[in-house]
Amino acid sequence: MHLLRIALAALMLGGGAAVLAQTGRDVPPAASTANPSGQNPTAASVREDQLLRELNKLQGRVSIPDGKAALLEQPQGREWRQFREGWLPWIGGIAILGMLLALFGFYFTKGRIRLDQTEESGVKILRFNAFERFMHWLTAVCFIVLALTGLNYIFGKRLLMPIIGPDAFAALSQWGKYAHNYLAWPFMLGLLLMLIVWVKDNIPNRVDVAWIRKGGGFLGDAHPSAYRFNAGQKMIFWIVVIGGLLMSATGILMLFPFSATDINGMQLTQAVHAVIGVLFIAAILAHIYIGSLGMEGAYDAMGSGEVDLAWARRHHDLWVEEQRAKTASGPQVHGARPVPAE
């Protein structure tokens, strides 16, 4: 009993009751209220409304291993929902439909950019070697699948689900998710390869300023000079590199959820991934247009790899000069010299 008193005294030292305990008398209740426990249980109790005003989310402690479960309440979920269901379909819809409209408008007013007929027509020059074409198409095929399966997360339930029904749509989306998750890796590989191989030809220089000032030949009849890549191509290169790296970084965070960030971080990551994604798709639509339908002769560069010398001369005059200067005999230029009869 004496030991207990001492222990009690030690406990009470900080509370101002030490004197009472030392005298050996029982400690009276701190306050005489109707409550038998002697204290007002509400005096210091946490209140939800007050906590939510002071903090942006309610974090506690749990006795299970899942640390995420310790987050009791995060009202930001409703804000993320507002982004995903309120803003994102509009951002995506306007960006992509707006770009398609602009491209249709350009096609129907200005038409295809035609190939000139000069004395160099029919002569071929190698523009992209097999490896360059491989890395381009690796990235491009992955991008198209990633774009379609990504758009499915936003528009699938609005456009596709009413047509094919919930079961078929869910099965398709399941495969779409696997495709999105796994094709992300070859996409990132292609992206890195393109960055390494093409970065030296995509450093902006003074020629690009003149190219942009002349509207890239789109607006007038003048054809501004360009090296291997003109300012427009350099722009698409840097859009792909910067956009692709952002998509990769946010994508990896979502492939390994909660490994590097908390719930609000995951919400922000998804928002960045989605917004960059739809803008990226809009930009690539323009790239696809100008590389195929928009310009006669342009597709060959990524198709066979060899372009018409007249086309190269017109769009990349300084690059043609560079290639000519590199090899006087002109191994880059096929067809210009007679094929030996063997």
Partner: protein
């Protein structure tokens, strides 16, 4: 039809975790998945309170809104359920849920989390009531048997209340009036856009 809700009286919850255990046992929930958990705020301080939390079966549920395959549905009792046949395990419901209710069998594996699992309010899933298929995917269906969720039914201090929103709000109100204090109906403002006015 009733508007089913949960209400946790934090001034009564003693963090015994019986609700968590009852839920896991009743529905044979796999290891790693917690449909219900008890969160302790201000642990060890005089203001400490514990709240048992699971899916709140929100009005205009955020999980249902963000789901890319629309796998959620609301029953006539206002219970929010989902179809594991449609779920693709994207994880969006967890980002949107204010209460961290959705659970996934796997974490990593390139985000292929598996089919989402969450509190069903002991009301099963889209399958026919009380079938084996329903039990295997969603656990037991006590509501179909005329019983309330087991977590609330076996709460030792009756801190966790389940039932029609108006009735459990009335019970809570009477308690607060009688004892003279109450830390509020946790999550109600966020889940139902209304709270219990005392």
């Amino acid at each position: 039809m009733a508007r089913m809700k949960f209400l946790c009286d934090a001034d009564r919850c003693i963090e015994c975790n019986a609700c968590v255990t009852a839920c896991k046992n009743e529905h044979e929930v796999p290891w790693g998945i917690n449909r219900r958990r008890v969160v302790t705020l201000n642990d060890g301080k005089p203001s400490e309170r514990s709240i048992s939390m699971a899916c709140m079966h929100c009005t205009d549920a955020p999980c249902a809104a963000v789901c890319p395959v629309n796998c959620f549905f609301t029953t006539a009792d206002a219970v929010v359920l989902h179809s594991k046949d449609l779920c693709i395990g994207c994880g969006y419901c967890f980002y949107a849920c204010p209460f961290g209710a959705p659970q996934y069998p796997r974490v990593g594996n390139f985000g292929s989390r598996g089919k989402m699992d969450k509190c069903t309010y002991c009301a099963g899933g889209p399958e026919a009531d009380l079938t084996t298929a329903e039990y295997e995917k969603y656990g037991s269906n006590r509501l179909a048997e005329g019983k309330l969720p087991l977590c609330a039914e076996m709460c030792s201090t009756k801190a966790l209340l389940a039932g029609d929103g108006e009735i459990i709000a009335q019970i809570y109100k009477e308690r607060v009036v009688k004892r003279g204090y109450g830390s509020g109906a946790w999550g109600w403002k966020t889940a139902y856009r209304e709270t219990v006015a005392i």
